[in-house]
């Protein structure tokens, strides 16, 4: 018997002293975060490779006798002739609820000084998007809390809605408002104890942003109590382009964990213009052939494979994507904007002129569209805002003509007056999302002409006052609107009574 034990012990000893096989190469050249490596004959495409000094690389170019690797991390200490080792692993990031409330880099390493990430699972950064069989149509609403969007360009869970506009038009604000609104809804829903309630967790991916802006965003989320439901993936402007290239895929992997585990998640890519620029830089250094605007040929695939990962899955959860694109001088026909417009399920276009006129959020109704969101819009919003988009588009057209002539017929004047009131009604301060039931009440009052007699300049104040009135005195009615999600005769009667009550107090 002892000989048998000895045999097993010998086997264990043999195993424990077994040599480890590695596939290695040496750095031939290194420049701008990209290394050309000799050797690495067994390396896989997109495999993680280990450089000296804890720097990680990704094998992106497998050529006849060399491998092109982008390096994630500090490249200052790397030099020609250094040994590079394959790891046999694809790039992956930690996933799970342990990341909520944290800021991590594109490899999932903490950046916020709050200690190590509590995560036991990892997901590959690059993953094939779910196929058509496992997908479900978008039918559940995702409220942004922005009245102009929820009423006219509704977004559903699993949708990809592009936010596009020039610099400084409020693109990030819309995304942050949406994240804050999800946190607010989550808190209400979780407090209600409703077993059917599905919280939405948010992931904000900052690509090529200034660190000061990222800190400001984090502070805004923290101040609004939204950070506990949010994960922030940071690849700041000072990070090397490889980190900026990987960051959105890392964010998508983190979001996919929620989707795969039956939860709903929202991901914001802020922004994909800078992501395309980072990829262009990597591609040019890797000597890949360049095409239009010097972007490589696969720049469309770069974004399509990322955005296709947002979906609503049958029997599982959903991942909603809000990519952001920055345009130059409002040119939506540039290369990257047209690419992303064609991939997404609609776009929210923000206009500089509207922003400068004080119309904030500066949503251009004519150019904005949601291709699938209307199926996800709740009935109550449809009842009160069904015709708003058309009316507003008509108003913009008439307003343009009205500039040239003063003699207008009464019908046109009425249309212009109503349009102006709708524009005023949709003005909303930043970081102040409005619950959907209050939006319904505000728009119902609009529909029933409660603001018609007011001076135009007082419409915004009146809407704020009306919402305050409803929040403080008619909470039960708001709860009913929220739970029923459609307006019946009883609710309309309640709304009328509450609006009449408000009108007497507001006019006084």
């Amino acid at each position: 018997m002892s000989s048998v034990l000895e045999q097993i012990e010998q086997q264990i000893a043999q195993l424990s002293t077994k040599a480890v096989r590695k596939n290695v190469g040496t750095i031939r050249t290194i420049a701008d975060g990209v290394a050309k490596v000799d050797g690495l004959s067994d390396v896989m495409y997109n495999e993680m490779v280990q450089f000296p000094g804890d720097a990680i690389g990704i094998a992106l170019n497998l050529e006849e006798d060399e491998v092109g690797c982008v390096i994630l991390g500090d490249i200052a200490k790397l030099k020609e002739g250094d040994e590079v080792t394959t790891t046999g692993k694809l790039l992956s990031v930690p996933v799970g609820k342990g990341l909520l409330g944290r800021a991590v880099d594109s490899l999932g390493r903490p950046l916020d000084g709050k200690g190590p990430i509590n995560s036991t699972e990892a997901y590959p950064v690059e993953k094939i998007a779910p196929g058509i069989v496992v997908r479900k149509p978008v039918t559940q609403a995702l409220f942004t809390g922005i009245m102009a969007i929820d009423s006219m360009i509704p977004i559903g869970r699993g949708q990809r809605e592009l936010i596009i506009g020039d610099r400084g038009t409020g693109k990030t604000t819309i995304a942050i408002d949406t994240i804050i609104n999800q946190a607010r809804i989550n808190k209400v829903g979780l407090a209600s104890g409703d077993p059917k309630f599905r919280p939405v967790y948010s992931i904000y991916v900052a690509i090529g942003q200034k660190n000061s802006n990222i800190v400001r965003t984090m502070s805004a989320l923290e101040a609004a109590g939204a950070l506990e439901f949010t994960i922030i993936v940071v690849a700041a402007a000072a990070d090397n382009p490889a980190n900026q290239y990987v960051a959105p895929y890392a964010g998508a992997a983190i979001g996919e964990w929620f989707m795969d585990n039956g939860m709903d998640a929202l991901i914001v890519y802020d922004d994909l213009s800078k992501h395309a620029v980072a990829y262009r830089q990597i591609s040019l250094i890797l000597k890949r052939p360049s095409g239009r605007e010097a972007y490589p040929g696969d720049v469309f695939y770069l974004h399509s494979r990322l955005l296709e990962r947002a979906a609503r899955l049958d029997g599982k959860g959903s991942l909603t994507a809000l990519p952001i694109i920055e345009t130059l001088a409002g040119d939506v026909s540039a290369y990257i904007p047209t690419n992303v417009i064609s991939i997404t399920d609609g776009q929210i276009f923000l206009e500089t002129d509207l922003f400068n006129q004080g119309v904030r959020p500066a949503v251009s109704v004519g150019l904005s569209v949601s291709r699938v969101g209307s199926a996800a819009q709740i009935k109550a919003t449809k009842q009160v805002a069904g015709k708003l988009k058309g009316e507003l588009a008509q108003f913009r057209e008439l307003a343009a003509f009205a500039q040239f002539g003063s003699d207008l017929d009464p019908k046109t004047k009425a249309q212009l007056d109503r349009g102006s009131r709708i524009v005023e009604l949709f003005k909303q301060p930043a970081l102040n999302p409005i619950p959907i039931e209050l939006q319904v009440a505000t728009l119902w009052a609009m529909q029933k002409g409660y603001y018609d007699e007011l001076d135009l300049k007082r419409v915004t104040a009146a809407a704020v006052s009306l919402r305050e009135h409803f929040s403080t005195r008619h909470d039960a009615l708001l709860s009913k609107i929220r739970t029923k999600a459609s307006l019946d005769a009883e609710l309309e009667a309640g709304l009328k009574a509450a609006c009449d009550e408000w009108k007497s107090t507001f006019a006084a």
Partner: protein, 131 residues
Amino acid sequence: MSAQSKAAEKVARLFFKLSVEGGAVSAERVAGILAYIERHRPANPLIVLRSYHRLIAAELARGRAVVEHSGAAPEALLQSIAEAMTRRYRRPVTAISRPNPALIAGLRVRVGDDVYESSIAARLSTLSTAN
């Protein structure tokens, strides 16, 4: 990489293919190629020769097991490593000894791009980087 150096690499690759006979680098052919380069100097001869050198060195390394060791490496050990590697790679592999006291104890065998590590130094390095 400029178009010139790309063309030079292409020429070097062609020379390399001509230098291989029966799956192994032929010393005679290499001598012939060098003589040809001497006579008909190609464009960018330095780049061509450097690339050619790199390709030949990589090919030779595939048939050679460099055994690094801190202690003694008897001939029988080198012989057994050569036989094992020949079986594994299904091509003739010879073993050469290279003393390396930095390994502390154990061996490090390199065949082409593959490294078989069973040294104390490598284990200590793994331990130091483990979480």
